[in-house]
Amino acid sequence: MEFERELLKGVLPMAVLKLLRRRNMYGYELVQELSRQTDGVLELGQSTVYPLLYNLEAQGLVEGVWQAAQNGRDRKYYQLTDKGAKRLERDLVQWGELVRGVGQIITEVISGQSSAIS
């Protein structure tokens, strides 16, 4: 499903931060995880993740570190910073409120439509 860009704009950074809170990840892995954990809802163009990570890095929310993987190749792993963790907490609270509020409205609309039909 294609989502409006503006809708995703605020969600993606939070989703990335949320994934990084569990463990450090590299770019390709993040793309795969986002898609997998959201059942394809947040399926990014593979390249989109890098500008997003660079922006989070510029804000000091994540930090990228080159590490050698088990197969011997270098990967740049991103980890959540303290500042990133605080931001995530704040964003999650706000997101929860938003979902609750929007959910209520949508429920009312849907039930209204149902009553009208019946």
Binding site: Y26, G27, Y28, E29, Q32, G45, Q46, S47, T48, Y50, P51, L52, L53, Y54, N55, E57, A58, Q59, W66, N71, R73, D74, R75, K76
Partner: protein, 585 residues
């Protein structure tokens, strides 16, 4: 063809298409080299992971490459987004530098644009200020104007010999240089005769135009034998005649030779001494009277400089008159006394007022020549025209005193961008005038009068005003000193009249009066005012039957008439009192 996981993992470099894609994206980011290396490594790592992942799903290398390229997205957009993200992460010092440069170059660019815009346009002078200045003069019947005769005279006058110029005072018949002085006067007899006729006319009547000034200067160059100067001036005159209908700025006017006027006055004084030496008292006084009248005519000039030269001539001549009276009054004939009486009447009729019309007209005229005009007094300064005008104005300034080259251009550019518009410039000029005028009207003894100079200095020394109102700073005259000299002249004339009245009183009564008020009303219309005290001039009888007449002068204190020489009116050390009578040797 590589198809197995092992094959792909063993790749040391990416397949060509992906490597090229990575390189293209990285190049398009236009990031710093270190940043590009980082992004390149990360994207290569990304594709490597993708190849392995997809190969695990059973795709061939070609299929893997195809899928990865499709999923990668638009490379141009990606490069742009990567650049934006990476730049945000650059160090603070870089951001400060970029901001500073943006402000600097942006500012310089804006300033440049403003300067360019300000340099556009043309002035549109419409008011003929020279005609306005000459209008009242042209209304004077020609036979009443002294100028045509004065012009003839100054064209003939031979300048004072250098030896005489170097003396501290004009020579007397007993001095070594007297014969030289006498021959200089004799050499100029015709010119002096012309001036005698000229000063009989009631009005000065000098017409302020370029043609007569140039004609005078051509004649002067011819007399000096300066062929180059003469040819240059004749060329200017010919050019002027072909441009008769064009307005020319008032500021470029050339006045008649003021030096020649001074020389004429000096010659009258020398001739007066010659006549006195021959005991021809009537002629001696008449020569001084001609000099006085010449000074009086110049006081009618429309420019401050003419007024001040007139004042200097009058002061010099009055001093000579007092000396002549003190030395020889007992020997004067009735004819001489009649002439002296006429001088008193003439002096009583003189009215002195500092002229400011020319100064103000000049400013307005410069404005119309250096500002654009939309017909409603709105316009901006044209720096090139302003520069030319100021250069023309300050031609007499010492060479090398001004800016040159880059700094001069920079100053002009700054002025072009920052100078106030036409309306504000005029409004500020007149506001400053009226502020200063309040103090200039105060008497010389009022301490607040010094505020006039302070207000002007404060304006001219304000760095912002020096740019925003550079024109006002450059062209606003400092009139404090001129006012002072002209008010002193008023007092000097009143003192002269009082001295004549005292002499006449003594001739009638046999002695000088005890109090000045005894002169009223038969000998004097009013008591002479001391401009430095607001009271009448100090008058005292001496034990020898003589009198003392003096002003408290610039220290505003009565020092009992101590100390001064009448013939040193501009002595650097102000005398304690200014003594009109008796004259010190």
């Amino acid at each position: 063809m590589i198809t197995t996981r092992a094959n792909i993992e063993e790749l040391t470099t990416l397949p060509g298409e992906l490597q090229e894609l990575t390189t293209r994206v990285v190049r398009q980011t236009r990031l710093w080299r270190r940043e590009r290396r980082d992004v390149q490594a990360e994207l290569e790592s990304h594709f490597r992971e993708g190849l392995i992942e997809l190969q695990q799903d059973g795709l061939t290398l070609e299929q893997c490459i195809k899928v990865l390229k499709e999923q990668f997205g638009d490379e141009v957009v990606l490069a742009k987004l990567i650049r934006r993200g990476k730049k945000r992460g650059r160090p603070m010092i870089y951001k400060v530098f970029v901001y500073t440069m943006a402000v600097t170059f942006g500012g310089a660019g804006s300033l440049g644009g403003l300067v360019w815009w300000r340099a556009q346009g043309e002035p549109n002078p419409t008011v003929d200020y020279v005609a306005r200045l000459n209008e009242p003069i042209l209304a004077i019947p020609e036979e009443q104007r002294a100028w045509p005769l004065l012009r003839e005279a100054i064209l003939q006058v031979e300048p004072m010999p250098k030896v005489l110029q170097e003396l501290s005072a004009l020579p007397a018949p007993d001095d070594q240089e007297w014969s030289m002085a006498e021959s200089w006067v004799a050499q100029n007899k015709e010119a002096l005769d012309l001036v005698r006729q000229a000063v009989q006319r009631p009005r000065y009547g000098y017409l302020y135009d370029w043609q007569s000034s140039l004609e005078y200067r051509i004649e002067d160059a011819r007399r000096r034998g300066d062929e180059t100067d003469r040819q240059e001036l004749e060329f200017q005159l010919a050019e002027l005649k072909t441009e008769r209908n064009e307005l020319r700025p008032l500021i470029s006017l050339v006045l008649p030779s003021l030096r020649s006027y001074r020389d004429i006055a000096r010659m009258y004084i020398l001739d007066s001494r010659r006549c006195a030496d021959h005991e021809n008292w009537s002629q001696a006084w008449q020569e001084l009277e001609s000099s006085c009248h010449l000074g009086g005519l110049l006081l009618q000039g429309k420019t401050l400089i003419e007024q001040l030269v007139g004042a200097a001539i009058l002061n010099l001549t009055l001093s000579e008159m007092v000396q002549l009276q003190q030395a020889h009054d007992a020997e004067f004939t009735d004819e001489a006394w009649l002439q002296i009486h006429n001088t008193k009447l003439w002096i009583s009729a003189i009215q002195i007022e500092t002229v400011i019309d020319f100064e103000q007209m000049t400013f307005e005229d410069v404005v119309q020549f250096v500002f654009t005009d939309d017909g409603q007094d709105n316009g901006h300064l044209l720096p090139k025209q302003y520069d030319e005008m100021v250069n023309a104005f300050s031609q007499t300034a010492p060479d090398g005193s001004g800016d040159s080259g880059w700094s001069h251009e920079a100053k002009l550019a700054t002025m072009a961008a920052m100078h106030a518009d036409r309306k504000s410039t005029l409004a500020t000029y007149y506001q400053l005038w009226s502020e200063i005028a309040r103090y200039r009207e105060l008497p010389l003894y009022d301490a607040q009068r010094a505020e006039a100079d302070r207000v002007l200095d404060q304006f001219k020394n304000d760095p912002e005003k020096q740019i925003r109102f550079a024109m006002v700073c450059n062209l606003m005259p400092s009139l404090g000193r001129a006012d002072q000299l002209l008010r002193e002249l008023e007092m000097n004339l009143a003192a002269m009249n009082t001295i004549i009245a005292l002499q006449e009183f003594r001739r009638q009564a046999g002695a000088y009066p005890v109090m000045l008020s005894e002169l009223l009303p038969d000998y004097l219309d009013a008591l002479p005012e001391d401009v430095y005290s607001g009271q009448p001039l100090k008058y005292e009888m001496t034990e020898a039957g003589d009198f003392k007449l003096y002003s408290v002068w610039r220290n505003l204190q009565d020092d009992s008439g101590s100390s001064v020489k009448m013939n040193e009116p501009d002595s650097p050390n102000d005398p304690e009192d200014w003594v009109y009578w008796p004259v010190h040797d």
